[in-house]
């Protein structure tokens, strides 16, 4: 109980600082994301990078000793440099070997205005040297209550934008990494469900490579392709309409 309470206070404090408000009740199912109180800046300005796993959770592990949690941290650092050179502000859910909760990671993106969310993964399986982008499958559009959208279905209103972002990034990845799928894939990814922003997962195959250097060599290409995809997507960014939320307000 005290952990939840402190989490709520932390998220409220973070949200107030960034100029928009995300409110969470103690019951996550009744947690709601509230519209920005301040006038929202239009356009995509912020990219939230989420290097998955960390801390006691190494994620996928290869027989050659490759750990997913380490590789995604390296990828995030390279992405950050490339994105900043394109004029984006970059925020990371973690920069060290720690493991924030799924909700805390989503909360960072949900507290921003004009942000997209990229969760970064390396798989155990799949054709080595390929990269896939994923969005959530269809979700019921959540009816906002009193200008608030349910935390558990925060991604629903953003799905069309997430697909557009995923297709833009997958297109760039497929050009560079042959054998990758032509279109964005769908998967019920826990991290994406509670994220109130255009959000995708990017997964590289795989930790099963015997030599880590081969995987390391992929990272600059992945970072470059992802940033190109984000730049292609940038003009498509609009504030999505949410039932129950007045037009112009940020869900």
């Amino acid at each position: 109980m005290s952990r939840l309470l402190s989490k709520t206070i932390l998220i409220l404090a973070g949200a107030v600082l960034t100029g928009s408000l995300v409110a969470r009740s103690q019951n996550p199912a009744q947690g709601l994301a509230q519209n920005s109180a301040s006038p929202s800046r239009s356009g995509l300005n912020i990219v939230v990078l989420d290097p998955a796993h960390g801390g006691t959770d190494p994620g996928a592990r290869g027989t050659g000793g490759i750990r997913e949690s380490d590789i995604v941290l390296d990828l995030a650092a390279q992405l950050k440099r490339n994105l900043e050179s394109q004029g984006f502000q970059v925020m990371q859910t973690r920069t060290t070997n720690e493991n924030p909760s799924f909700d805390d990671r989503s909360a960072l993106a949900n507290a921003q205005t004009g942000a997209i969310f990229l969760t970064l993964h390396v798989s155990s399986t799949g054709l080595s040297g390929t990269v896939r982008a994923y969005t959530m499958p269809d979700m019921p559009i959540a009816q906002a209550r009193g200008g608030l959208i349910p935390w558990d279905q925060a991604q629903a209103a953003y799905l069309p934008l997430s697909r557009k972002l995923g297709d833009a990034i997958q297109g760039e990845l497929t050009q560079r990494f042959k054998g990758s799928p032509a279109n964005v894939q769908t998967a019920f990814i826990r991290q994406l469900r509670t994220t109130a922003a255009p959000a995708i997962a990017i997964e590289i195959s795989s930790v099963s490579m015997q030599d880590k250097a081969n995987l390391d060599r992929m990272l600059p290409g992945v970072a470059d392709a992802v940033v190109r995809g984000v730049v292609v997507f940038r003009p498509s960014y609009v504030t999505p309409a949410v039932p129950g939320v007045p037009p112009g307000a940020r869900p």
């Binding site: 019951n27 399986t125 799949g126 390929t130 896939r132 959530m136 979700m139 469900r193």
Partner: protein, 207 residues
């Protein structure tokens, strides 16, 4: 009390503390071992019970369609026809196809589920939501990743869709418990659509 007695009591206390320090780790290990044996035998019993469903069936063999990994296209499933004595009872039928799915195809490379995982229980609620309870190996032994976890769930839902029309949605439990993810990626908090893709992810509405 003279000092001689004090020393004796002190030595006695020290000996007791020393004995406890030696004995407690041994006791702890014994309790843990006992719990492990009990859990394994419980799972073994359930596994045998479920597996006997296939062996003892007198039903005529029908063609069941099972979904394992495709050997031609990475990250996709391919249907395989397997002749099974499928029951007309939807719960028994679901158990039969899921146990065959768990046993896997001849080519181990095409497994979608961990070979050491077992189906512990399966129910269908009146609203068409099925509850499948798998042993912990389902979460612990599966290769971690979005692709592998989604393929595992898809192989279960597509196999149910092809063989058990009564199932509309599937809720997956691990050892009787609701878990947040399968192995760090796939969301298990809701129910997956089966038989009709229009039915989207059902997020539990907690009161």
């Amino acid at each position: 009390m003279n000092s001689k007695w004090r020393v004796r009591i002190l030595i006695g206390l020290l000996a007791a503390v020393l004995a406890a320090a030696i004995y407690f780790p041994i006791l702890k290990q014994r309790v843990k071992k006992q719990a492990r044996v009990q859990q394994t035998s419980e799972e073994q019993a359930r596994r045998e019970l479920v597996q006997s469903l296939n062996a003892n069936s007198n039903e005529p063999k029908v063609k069941a369609k099972l979904f394992w990994a495709s050997d031609s296209e990475d990250g996709t499933l391919a249907p395989t026809i397997v002749e099974l004595p499928l029951s007309n009872d939807p719960v028994l039928r679901a158990k039969q196809v899921l146990n065959t799915l768990l046993a896997g195809p001849v080519d181990a490379e095409l497994h979608t589920l961990p070979s050491d995982a077992a189906l512990l229980a399966f129910y269908i609620l009146p609203n068409g939501t099925a509850i499948a309870d798998f042993s912990e190996a389902m979460a612990n032994s599966i290769p971690s990743g979005v692709q592998s976890e989604q393929l595992a769930v898809d192989s279960i839902t597509e196999t149910l869709e092809a063989n058990v029309p009564q199932v509309r949605r599937l809720k997956i439990l691990i050892h009787g418990q609701e878990v947040e993810t399968l192995a760090g990626h796939l969301d298990l908090t809701g129910a997956f659509p089966v038989n009709g893709k229009a039915v989207a992810l059902v997020v539990p509405q907690k009161k």
